[in-house]
């Protein structure tokens, strides 16, 4: 059995979710290749080649691949699947965008957001916003799988796989990339961070969100997250959203400030190792999953927390 992993990368770097997806792939087979599709992505390919357990790295470059156009990825990957029995990609927005197209073209069901590999054909995946776990067996000859990478350990580095350039398909005819607005941040990436500090509707404004959440995140070296209510109200950018329909995170420490703990929010963070909640309502559902809670107004509690962290040498 041979397995292809479609790398998550930004051309210069492969993201940690790729290492985690390689771990899932290695549970299926020892023959794991990584595909780096992008533009000027030689550096990412070099990094991919260092992931332990990887047999070889395929690199394809074109404008459309660099822009992540789904039709281009489909045209690239579907023919490659003649040589592979399974393709895995992290369940990022891009992974979700492309994998079902590949599955449909191969006429196989997609197995979405697996959290465990039981055997070559059997997988565990959350359904109903994580309120149930489904164990499914696939009868398809080829498997198309997206991986909830937060639940797999990252494969180590230290490999030295061969890098093989492959031809990119022609640009898709019916879709054109117009533009991309990227939110720039020096903080760790939400999906990969060891600590996440999230703010909710209680912040009340974008200024307050910045004033309260960001300094605390910076002190902790944390990524910043948000509830849907905070994103909808414009307090935080859309890609900060944690939850059923946002990002799923499982850091060592998750700090929820002024977030009630709706099922859909919990779906995105309840696998965190340690959860801290700061909420003025003692009955907020977030306290049912929090290891440590402060029933307090964040306006007082967050400055106190900053002070206590300073005292503790942070």
């Amino acid at each position: 059995m041979a397995v292809l992993v479609i790398a998550d990368h930004d051309n210069a770097h492969v993201r940690d979710s790729t290492h985690k997806t390689v771990t899932a792939a290695l549970k299926l087979s020892g023959d794991v290749d990584v595909l780096v599709a992008g533009k000027d992505c030689g550096a990412a390919a070099q990094q991919g080649a260092k992931i332990s357990g990887v047999r070889k790295v395929l690199v394809a470059e074109s404008d459309a691949l660099g822009q992540g156009v789904a039709e281009a990825l489909e045209a690239l990957v579907v023919p490659l699947m003649a040589n592979y029995d399974a393709v895995l990609t992290p369940a990022t927005s891009q992974g979700k965008n492309i994998a079902p197209r590949i599955a449909a073209r191969l006429d196989v069901a997609q197995i979405s957001e697996i959290i465990e590999v039981v055997d070559e054909s059997t997988f565990v995946r959350p359904i109903y916003a994580g309120n149930a776990l489904e164990t499914v067996r696939s009868s398809d000859a080829k498997k198309v799988i997206t991986v909830r990478s937060s639940l797999f350990k990252a494969a180590a580095e230290g490999g030295a796989a061969a890098i093989e350039p492959i031809e990119a398909p022609a640009a898709p005819a019916k879709v054109r990339f117009v533009s991309q607005e990227v939110v720039k941040s020096d903080r760790p990436e939400l999906a990969a961070a060891k600590i996440v500090v999230s703010g909710g509707r209680a912040m009340g404004s974008a200024e307050e969100f910045k004033r309260v959440i960001e300094p605390l995140a910076d002190k902790l070296g944390a990524a910043v997250g948000a509830s849907r209510a905070a994103v909808d109200a414009g307090y935080a950018p859309n890609d900060y959203q944690v939850g059923q329909t946002g990002k799923v995170v499982a850091p060592d420490l998750y700090v929820a400030i002024g977030i009630s703990g709706a099922i859909q929010h919990l779906a995105g963070m309840k696998d965190s190792k340690v959860i801290v909640a700061i909420n003025k309502d003692a009955d907020a559902p977030i306290f049912q999953v929090a290891d440590y809670g402060l029933v307090a107004d964040y306006k007082a509690a967050v400055p106190e927390l900053m002070e206590a962290l300073t005292q503790a040498g942070k």
């Binding site: 965008n97 079902p100 449909a104 776990l133 489904e134 499914v136 696939s138 398809d140 994103v231 420490l253």
Partner: protein
């Protein structure tokens, strides 16, 4: 232009799903069912296109049990023109859904398919992309803003790291994200009017497509439960616990 909107009947998003004790699935007996929230957003967007004079007709399609007619009525009350129920008791999964939708689209020839990005029961996030691939149509998933001009759609999408804008040639498939719009509440007169709008009921088998399940559910279990922890008196306590007890600082 004709717009087709597939809508799914799912557990209401305010209800917490409970796993059956025999581990065969989630207990849906006597549970409130609703239109999938993302499908509702897709219907709203289609109705707005009609109100702007961009769309002439909005056709809603549901694949599922007889009661999915209620879901279609919800969409009709929001302003869709007519419904098609593709009736089946089996859950065809996203691949089967995409194949059945393709068969409906071959008959209906819409210029635009607007659907939800994800059904909140299976959380698959796949049917729209699969449909686009089967049709050979361009796609824009996770739509945040849609503009239609002539034979083109310009769609801004929610992606990791920000927003991306694509231009698609119609016909195309677009899937809705949460922030595309805020769906309206149907007024009572519109609910009454919706009762008279036509719903065509067809048997899934009549389309002659292979919707045999490819995935067998071996079991459905409850996720490990987290224990509620402790409430602390002060931020200083918290820092000391995080440092000394949890070891995460």
């Amino acid at each position: 232009m004709k717009v087709l909107v597939p809508v799914k009947r799912v557990i209401d998003s305010n209800v917490k799903a409970r796993v059956k004790s025999d581990q065969t699935g989630v207990d849906l007996a006597n549970v409130k069912m609703s239109i999938n929230p993302f499908c509702e957003i897709a219907v709203e967007e289609a109705v707005r296109l009609k109100e702007k004079g961009v769309a002439e007709e909005v056709v809603v399609v549901s694949i599922g049990v007889a009661q999915a007619q209620e879901t279609l009525r919800t969409a009709l009350a929001m302003g869709a023109d007519r419904g098609v129920l593709v009736q089946t008791d089996a859950d065809p999964g996203p691949l089967g859904v995409a194949k059945l939708l393709k068969a409906v689209i071959d008959e209906e020839s819409p210029k635009l398919v607007l659907m939800g990005k994800q059904a909140i029961d299976g959380d698959n996030n796949a049917a729209g992309q699969m449909l686009a691939a089967l049709l050979g149509w361009p796609q824009a998933t996770f739509a945040y803003r849609i503009e239609i001009a002539g034979e083109k759609a310009t769609v801004t999408r929610e992606v990791d790291g920000g927003l991306q804008t694509l231009e698609l040639d119609l016909p195309a498939v677009i899937t809705a994200d949460l922030r595309l719009n805020e769906p309206r509440y149907a007024s009572l007169p519109n609910i009454m009017k919706a009762k008279k709008k036509p719903i065509d009921v067809k048997e899934a088998a009549s389309y002659g497509v292979d919707i045999a399940p490819r995935l067998t559910v071996l079991k459905v279990t409850e996720p490990p439960k987290r224990q509620a922890g402790v409430k602390l008196e002060s931020a200083a306590d918290l820092v000391s616990k995080l440092k000394n007890e949890a070891g995460v600082l």
